[in-house]
């Protein structure tokens, strides 16, 4: 079904959080203030790599209006954080490893005084050689950035004999792909409000993708029991993976505890750029061979990822990349090796796509090059190699079976953008139009062996509201809207019957993280599990109240109704008042995982194919995306507006990844500090239409429901653009973002005028 407002009919709903967002009334956590509040600031390293000789805070502490100046000596608990491996110091003691490393933090009466205090802190550094690339970090004799060296993680996967099989190949393509240090560029920079009560309990209002995880990390740093920390973590002004890890929370918490006053932190954009996570730049070398009929025979891959100064989820991203570099294709002989390397660059970590953008760009590039090498249609080459129903996943692992790969690829074949791709008519001799397409399968959930908890709770509140409690976060994706819609459609509730409770560590159950395209799937599966028991409890109480048999009753808007006719026999409020006994149901389970014991291997995949029609201006080398088509096979659409928004929004990130975005670093220093030099797509870049086709059909008996769509749109457009650029210019793109100077051509009419 082509997804839009019209085709969605009554399922196209106004978001419950919408009125507050369009009116400016919604209080984001960085909008909060409190009387007596102090302003918190963090002193960050002057060098990408240096030894700290001394830190002197005496002068800063003397400034009137300064209430606290803290260093590593003031951390009561463990001086480190990192979701998977807590190797990033909260406040550095002896070494700084990147330009965003924190050395001290201050709380003062005003931002001006706090900035003055930062300036007054005297840190003596001894600069050390800067390791500015993974290649430099891997050289023998390179400075050792961590006790175990410069390698965070290595991966390997092999089957068959790739090296030996190249001899059998009719055609082999070798290419090295480079991808940029993409920045999340959420519009709301990191920040929040931190306070303690008289009894030492800490309250943290700060955006994150997993409030309970923040609480756990903060408890270690602060040496406090988790029960003494209250984390309020939604709503969020965008995250895209970037706020998954701790950012300013430790500083706000330390300063609030130290001063006994509320402390507000709200990063400037430059501080966000400097300290925040980015997408892993990867260098992916591929050698891929096909036989005479175009069948893939051998695929050899080496991945080098620049993970920057600290771990966060760098190892997990590499695991994901290792899986996705094989693509939705049957290949008998595969050999993948990956290494994620520490450098003195900015920290790379969680980013929408999680290694998918880089690897899918590379793999799809191979497919286009192979097709060109043997003169085959790129659609046909992919088609004959696609994983079909019944095939295992990229690692040979058991996966939830769907026809997704074929469904989305067939949709491309039939689409007019594809069938009419040769009949483009540019408006000027120097403009060239062309079309490219790509396909991807993208794993959801954290994968085998990871803490992939899911679950939630439904409850009839004392005031008669139906409460849904989940430990997920509203980052903007429309989680509240999707949950409301699922509750309404599944149970028959009215929107006014509902109260959604998220983002509050004191009351929500552990539902796992709001990452990895998992939240909507897991809410659906939770409701699937809770539907029968929760409905039964409500009906039982209604039966007791009314004397009618449960079979005669049904749930509906505003209360319990007779199955037949239109009589409401009890309002939910009356059910709640009828008994003091709490009426609630909850469930905890794990995200469905594959049986293969390979860490991170996925079980549930979303499939997508995209067509991009572009215009290349050969005078400027600039590429404009004119039109896009996305076919997405992700099971039933839980929320049409949210689904469409995820694909459209994801596609914009992929366009930026392909054409303009790169947080370039030179010798460990950022070249761009703000959105004037780091270029995210503007409305002009995205004014071409995007058609989104949702393929909802799943095999009979599928029990997993909606697949995630949060990431798939963001990994699929770049390879389609690269294919179109090749069509338009004859040039292969192996490095993103595309460099216009490489696509500039002297048009024939100018060459003629100049050369005669």
């Amino acid at each position: 079904m082509l997804l839009n407002r019209e085709t969605s009919g009554g399922r196209w709903r106004i978001r419950p959080d919408g009125p507050a967002k369009v009116s400016g009334g919604l209080a984001y956590l960085t909008d909060m203030t409190m009387s007596g509040m102090l302003h918190g600031f963090v002193l960050r390293s002057e060098h990408p790599h240096a030894r700290i000789i001394s830190i002197n805070t005496d002068e800063a502490k003397q400034i009137s209006g300064v209430h606290a100046v803290l260093t590593h000596l003031d951390i009561p608990g463990f001086n480190g954080f990192g979701i998977a491996n807590p190797d990033q110091p909260v406040l550095c003691s002896d070494t700084v490893r990147y330009i965003g490393d924190a050395v001290a933090c201050v709380a003062a009466d005003s931002p001006e005084i706090a900035r003055a205090a930062l300036k007054a802190i005297k840190v003596q550094y001894e600069p050390l050689p800067v390791v500015d690339s993974p290649e430099a970090a891997l050289k023998s004799g390179a400075p050792k950035l961590h006790p175990n060296g410069n390698v965070l993680h290595t991966t390997a996967y092999s089957k068959g004999d790739a090296e030996g099989s190249f001899a059998e190949c009719a055609s082999i393509v070798e290419e090295t792909y480079d991808t940029p240090r993409q920045m999340h560029a959420y519009m709301e920079t990191e920040g929040g409000l931190f306070l303690t009560d008289g009894e030492g309990r800490l309250t943290v209002y700060s955006p994150t993708q997993h409030g309970l995880k923040d609480r756990m990390q903060l408890a270690l740093i602060l040496d406090m029991p988790e029960s003494d920390i209250h984390v309020l973590s939604s709503p969020i002004g965008g995250s895209f993976g970037g706020k998954d890890e701790l950012n300013v929370q430790p500083y706000g918490a330390l300063l609030a505890i130290q001063t006994g006053r509320p402390v507000k932190i709200h990063n400037s954009r430059w501080e966000s750029v400097r300290a925040g996570l980015k997408k892993h730049p990867m260098r992916i070398a591929m050698k891929t061979g096909i036989d005479e009929s175009g069948r893939l025979i051998a695929h050899q891959v080496s991945i080098i990822a620049d993970t920057g100064a600290y771990s966060t989820l760098g190892a997990e991203v590499l695991n994901f990349a290792t899986e996705h570099v094989i693509g939705p294709y049957r290949i008998d002989n595969v050999d993948v090796k990956g290494v994620s390397v520490f450098t003195n660059n900015g920290v790379s970590g969680e980013f929408r796509g999680f290694g998918g953008s880089q690897t899918i760009f590379a793999m799809e590039g191979q497919m286009d090059r192979l097709a060109a090498a043997v003169g085959m249609d790129p659609w046909e080459l992919r088609r004959i190699n696609l994983r079909m129903t019944g095939d295992p996943g990229p690692f040979g692992q058991a996966i939830a079976q769907t026809d997704g790969a074929l469904q989305v690829w067939e949709a491309v074949r039939k689409h007019p953008l594809w069938t009419e791709r040769r009949s483009t008519a540019p408006q000027a001799p120097w403009l060239k139009e062309a079309v490219g397409a790509a396909i991807a399968m993208h794993g959801a959930g954290l994968g085998y062996g990871m803490p992939d908890t899911a679950g939630g709770r439904l409850r009839l509140a004392a005031d008669g509201k139906i409460e849904a409690l989940f430990g997920y976060e509203e980052v903007g994706q429309g989680l509240i809207a999707s949950l409301s819609q699922m509750l309404i459609e599944r149970f028959g509730f009215a929107e006014e019957d509902l109260r959604i409770i998220i983002g509050d560590s004191d009351v929500v159950p552990d539902s796992g993280s709001t990452t990895a395209s998992r939240a909507t799937s897991m809410m659906w599966q939770t409701l699937q599990r809770l539907e029968a028991p929760f409905a039964a409890k409500l009906l039982r109480r209604a039966s007791q109240l009314s004397g009618l048999r449960e079979e005669e009753l049904r749930l509906g808007e505003g209360g319990i109704w007779r199955q037949e006719g239109s009589e409401r026999i009890a309002r939910y409020e009356e059910l709640a008042r009828a008994s003091a006994e709490e009426l609630s149901c909850d469930t905890t389970f794990l995200y469905p995982a594959t049986s293969m014991k390979r860490i991170g291997a996925h079980f549930i995949y979303t499939y997508s194919a995209a067509i991009a029609r572009i215009e290349l201006n050969t005078l400027t080398g600039r590429v404009k995306v004119l039109q896009q088509y996305h076919a997405v096979a992700a099971g039933p659409v839980a929320n049409p507006q949210g689904y469409l928004g995820q694909i459209e929004g994801g596609s914009s990130m992929s366009v930026g990844f392909a054409l303009t975005e790169d947080a370039m670093m030179e010798k460990g220093l950022y070249a761009a500090r703000n959105l004037d030099t780091y270029l995210v797509p503007s409305i002009r870049d995205m004014s071409g239409g995007i058609e989104v086709e949702a393929i909802e059909e799943l095999p009979e008996g599928d029990e997993y429901g909606p697949r995630g769509v949060g990431e798939i749109g963001s990994v699929i457009v770049a390879p389609a653009i690269a294919a179109a650029i090749r069509e338009a210019s004859g040039k292969w793109v192996a490095q993103l973002p595309v460099r216009p100077e490489e696509l500039q051509q002297t048009p024939p009419f100018i060459a003629k005028a100049v050369n005669g």
């Binding site: 407002r5 106004i14 400016g24 409305i683 239409g689």
Partner: protein
């Protein structure tokens, strides 16, 4: 010592109108309007994001024109009529806001107030803009979530919706003619 600059500042009284009410705000001549609106007046619908006038999250209307409040200083606002997002919604949602709601022209919502300010400035000046004029008017507002498709649909819907509402100015004109 650097806190000299903190201590000695010329005081300034900003007299202007904010959301239809006259205001007299003790300030400094060079204080940024964004700080006055958010920190002093607690009108937090106006957002802080890039602070260099690129992203548009802090846009407000000054005498009906859209300005990045992060680049506007207090003295530049003297005697002006300033409307923030809260002022746009003062008497119920504006048709533009209603259109953003109906089309889902927002996700995280952080850019939305500035986006709506830009659309309002455009449509107040030009009720029937061309596609090119819409793109030009919104090119100073960055949205990282939506990819802009739903925003463009919301703007088109707002243009239609406003056509259905009798325009105050034209009603006055008709009365004058009568």
């Amino acid at each position: 010592m650097s806190d000299q600059s903190v201590q000695h500042r010329a005081s300034y009284q900003l007299d202007c109108s904010i959301n239809g009410k006259s205001a007299s705000i003790p300030s400094e001549a060079s204080k940024r309007l964004l700080a006055i609106i958010r920190d002093d007046l607690q009108l937090t619908g106006t957002k802080r994001s890039c602070e260099i006038g690129r992203c548009g999250a802090c846009m407000v209307l000054i005498d009906g024109k859209p300005f990045n409040s992060c680049l506007t200083m207090a003295y530049q606002c003297a005697g002006k009529e300033i409307i923030t997002i809260e002022g746009v919604a003062a008497e119920g949602l504006d048709p533009i806001q209603q259109s953003f709601l109906e089309e889902g022209g927002f996700q995280c919502g952080y850019c939305t107030p500035g986006m709506i300010i830009s659309v309002k400035a455009l449509l107040d000046a030009n009720p029937d803009p061309s596609e090119e004029e819409v793109l030009e008017a919104l090119s100073g507002n960055i949205c990282r979530c939506t990819g802009y498709g739903s925003i463009l649909r919301a703007v088109r819907r707002a243009i239609e919706a406003r056509r259905m509402i009798p325009d105050v100015a034209s009603v006055d004109t008709i009365k004058a003619i009568e």
